[in-house]
Amino acid sequence: MKKTIITATLYTLITAILLGIGYPLAITGLAHIFFPKQADGELITRNGAVIGSHLIGQSFTGTTYFHSRPSAAGTGYDAGSSSGSNLAPTSKSLIDRTTASTVTEQTGTAPVPVDLVTASASGLDPDITPAAALYQIPRIARERHLSEPALTALVAAHTTPRQFGLLGEPRVNVLDLNLALDNLPTH
């Protein structure tokens, strides 16, 4: 019994250093040699300042930008506090929230694509569906005085297809799309 306790304690300490210090530090080192950009979070910088990450969504609520999905992370897209809403389909709060979002997002009579009015699991979803991006084109064309075909082409250029044509779903990265939108010449 006493011998087992000594062995267990030594075994715990030695393997803790191997698995809890050695292994993660080795992976950190290798990651920075082979994939330095990915290891640090694919940050986007403008004039030397970080303006976001390709992988992390941001809130866009103004009429001149493509909107991102509602977010339950902090006050919205707080990447220090990821979270979903965790509201059940029978939750009154959920129905009230989506109804309010639908009123904001709806243009014309066509129903709003569901991802545009539902909160993601992480609260940091960088993407919207192609349907949600195309849906917003008339509003952006009006607000920015751009032609709809130019915007449709922009959305098409920023649509990521399924990986290997099979995995996941087609999607549009909202931050990348809006940064490209700001660079479009107006007419």
Binding site: A8, T28, D40, G84, G123, G168, E169
Partner: protein
Amino acid sequence: MSLNGWLQIALFIALILLLAKPMGSYMTRVFERRRTWLDPVLVPCERLLYRLTGVVPTEEMRWTQYALTMLIFSAATLVLTYVVERLQLLLPLNPQHLAAVAPDLALNTAISFTTNTNWQAYTPETTMSYLTQMLGLATHNFWSAAVGLALAIAFIRGIARREMKTLGNFWVDLTRGTLWILLPISVVFALALVSQGVIQNLNPYTTATLVEPQHITTTGADGKPITTTVTTQTIAQGPVASQEAIKMLGTNGGGFFNANSAHPFENPTPLTNFLQLLSIFLIPAGLTATLGQMVGSPRHGWAILAAMTLLWFVGVFTCYWAESQPNPLLHNIDQQHSLTQPGGNMEGKEVRFGIASSALFATVTTDASCGAVNSMHDSFTPLGGMVPLVNILLGEIVFGGVGAGLYGMLVFVVISVFIAGLMVGRTPEYLGKKVESYDVQMAMLYLLIFPLLILGFAAVTVLMPNLGLSSLANHGPHGLSEILYAYASATGNNGSAFMGLNANTHWYNYSLGIAMFVGRFMMIIPMLALAGNLAGKKIVPETAGTFPVTTPLFTILLTSVIVIVGALTFFPALSLGPILEHLLLHAGNTF
């Protein structure tokens, strides 16, 4: 549901079934101490470790000694994690200066990770320092998985050995499982994850200047609206990939971030998602082949794998179908599947995964005792959310956790063989061994502790408005589902949650802590007792009256026993939770 969705699901299960045999053969070699191609590097490490810790690798252990050693080792690792959590402010690698973890939460978390549950009553990015994540939590992802593997191998030896009193050496099984299986796969897997965008650094959190500043209106203490302008975004960083790899491979499931595998830094692309899915089932599927090889009946392993695959399919079909359905309470919203969107129930799901990958993940993570999530189960449709709940309630034996799934399944095999014996009126045999009253008693003890804990704790919690019910995020029948899910997840050592429930209270931290502890260790003891007893038996020659455990008939019997035991035990509770919620949802009720 779409053709593409089903293709993804089909590819997944095809790869698992293809990988089962090579993975199983490799594990057989590792645990039978035969040569492998990693030996030149690992054998010296193994010998050094034994010398430093005083392990005698040739020593054989009886089941009692095996169990005691496992308990003492688990206790030592639990203490280490508790200490690291409490002292994290004084230790390095804490760039955010996160305070010491509160005692009840620290204890709950230490139990949670020791028992391979990875229930998380905290928000990691605001609670745990990098060192705590690495040294206190990721280490347990290796240890608890290796312990599970060792126990499964001990159980297999119990079946395979004849007229012996011992089950092997715990330290040797633990070491070989860690060094030959978990660590090498994790290194390769972690780097593959980084290449796709999973982060791996020790940087402080990044502050980004928002492209479009946001005006946030909140209600102040005096009831007046206050508008604040948010101009920056804090982006949490950390050594994620190294932890992510073993979190999935070891069916642990504790996320580096609160959103777990839904967080873009943990699971950035459909490919990382697919690899994470494969890694959950890789070892559990392989273990069925290991079982077949070590007991000398490969077809028995395949028969068990077939039962698992059958139950998996029913789960994923139900979940995918339910989540593809529109929510009838939403209006003016396009929830139809089309070429440009998956449609369906998108609340709590990520666009890159859509419905198919989310439903598959929810099914797989609860078939196994993984508990990682890439979508929020609390926001699933009532029937879609019932699938993960039922998977846990069946005992997580559909592939199951690393090791734990196989030995849980083998307990059901013993019960199935016993029932088959009763039906034909002769002493039941399992692979040449008579199944006698002691064996059935231990198997039944294993099966009864589980519902007793879940239903007992859930019943007590429901009766306490101030302690139990005040933590609910959703009301009506969904509230019962939240409580039921919490105790099922804790007792079954799953760790996923209906995350609306605020479980970081004294009542939940302690009661769920007890559920996790008893659900792991008190179930292991009867399981090892059964294994020890089986190891001592003689082999009786097979006769025409022996019920074969290698046929489709056996697969069907085993599946039926699992479903009947589960349904008899939990149907009343489920009918008041998800089933009632389903009926009320379609009658137009909200809560």
